[in-house]
Symmetry: C2
Subunit: 312 residues, 2 copies
Amino acid sequence: MSETIESIGEQGLLQLVQQFCPAGVVGDDAAVLPVVADESLVVTTDVLVDRVHFSDRTTPAHSVGWRAIAANLSDLAAMGATPLGVTVGLGLPGDTTVAWVEGLYQGMSDCLAKFGGTIVGGDLVRSSVRTISITAFGQVKPGDVMRRSGAQVGDVIVVTGFHGNSRAGLELLLKPELGSHTELVLAHQYPRPRFDIANKLWGIAHACMDSSDGLADAVLQICRSSQVGAVLDQSQLPIDPVLSKIFPEQSKQWCLYGGEDFELVLCLPENAVPAGCLAIGRIVDGQTVVLMNEFGEAKTLRLDHGFQHFST
Amino acid sequence: MSETIESIGEQGLLQLVQQFCPAGVVGDDAAVLPVVADESLVVTTDVLVDRVHFSDRTTPAHSVGWRAIAANLSDLAAMGATPLGVTVGLGLPGDTTVAWVEGLYQGMSDCLAKFGGTIVGGDLVRSSVRTISITAFGQVKPGDVMRRSGAQVGDVIVVTGFHGNSRAGLELLLKPELGSHTELVLAHQYPRPRFDIANKLWGIAHACMDSSDGLADAVLQICRSSQVGAVLDQSQLPIDPVLSKIFPEQSKQWCLYGGEDFELVLCLPENAVPAGCLAIGRIVDGQTVVLMNEFGEAKTLRLDHGFQHFST
């Protein structure tokens, strides 16, 4: 049997975890961090619960850690911010293995090393269910903040990548009999916050949101915040050819509603579309978001994740 | 039966919670906050789990919320920081009542209104056990940071108030047959972070820590960080006369090891002891923390919460 956190005790667990924190940051009641003088602070938080947001069936510990950090960093990227650090609150049952905790922290550290920030604080408590609570901090120049509320009529709506692959990866992990497709599985287990594109859009994008809750949700939230409507072109939905091939029946649904792709959805002037982004539609007057097919028929998209009937 | 969060749904719950956040802060992927240019960021986090850190037997929802915020603000106070805001991550079973969630947020809001800061972000997720994860952040001038590691030989060790009352209050709540003593119950349910004293000690205190894990723990942690020893005077232990009277046998133990009083333990020069603080001992050379009685006999205090044998 693997060694458990109960067997190494609270001090042993603390020592293990502190290996993943920079020297000098831990050891006081709170962490002290320098900040860039002329920038605003950006703060976001996520709670992940075992068997709700991750599971041993689909996500090894390293992936759980990576995803937990990536989800929060993706929120910072969507605001135009650069990461400073994160705090990690962990609730763990006593029979959690030491190997799982090590894997979790290694996954968090690897994601932070790749995209920026360090673990600057945390709390370890006993709980009947594994719970991971991350708060991420970043900074951004006040003029570079990207919000949901700035979309303008005429803006092009673009995304930074394919959607639906994460949902497809989850399906493959839950149903091994469907075979293995590494690209899709990695999309689920190791999403990448899109700082590479976000950091080129300071002062350019009118509105931005990450697609953690799905592409349709992001477009709807942006439109609601900006008090505009949108027309999405069904033929331009950002569906990976690999996804269409393996899941032809589900690909459209998962592209729109799958979630957890952690790409960015951006609204910007047509002449400002960055390389590598895919245009999927336009911001229009009104309050509805519609998906237009090749025959000019429009479906209204809603937040409740259901298609409405066609209305031409 | 009371209305549950399951019955009002995710949107209903979000609307309820957002009433307690300042307008304009929520609605994006992350909150954006202005910071004071020449100050450092101070960050702390705590996770509280039902039946580990709170319970319906001892803490109504309002008190759970107040305590969760007070514990984090106390960490900021101990660093010399001024609160900016908090994020609140909540994991809740579907049968949690709406009244409980409202009480929790009202308690958090009341504590923040009293001591500073607002709720600037959060996450609401489903969990099998009620879990509250708070991250608090504040700011402090780099030269005003109070750490654990600065205690100097000759410093007076002072505390900002009595210790043991919170533990006694818990006992009274768990054993109603012992009677009611409002002062002790309030010490447990409504602790107060000591910004009133912390804010007078910028640049004066050599070392500081809050006593959330008990008075003995705080002195031991300060001594370990500062590589010094301490002699505490048993006759000067900060025991409330009310506590001595009601719990004569337990008062000393609870004063040293009870925890959750959220007072400050400070080491500073003799001529700098602030009004309202109680001197309990001195920093000395060495590595041990001893409790000296009226006969000059010394007990060594240890982190494992047990008294060692007398060694004169």
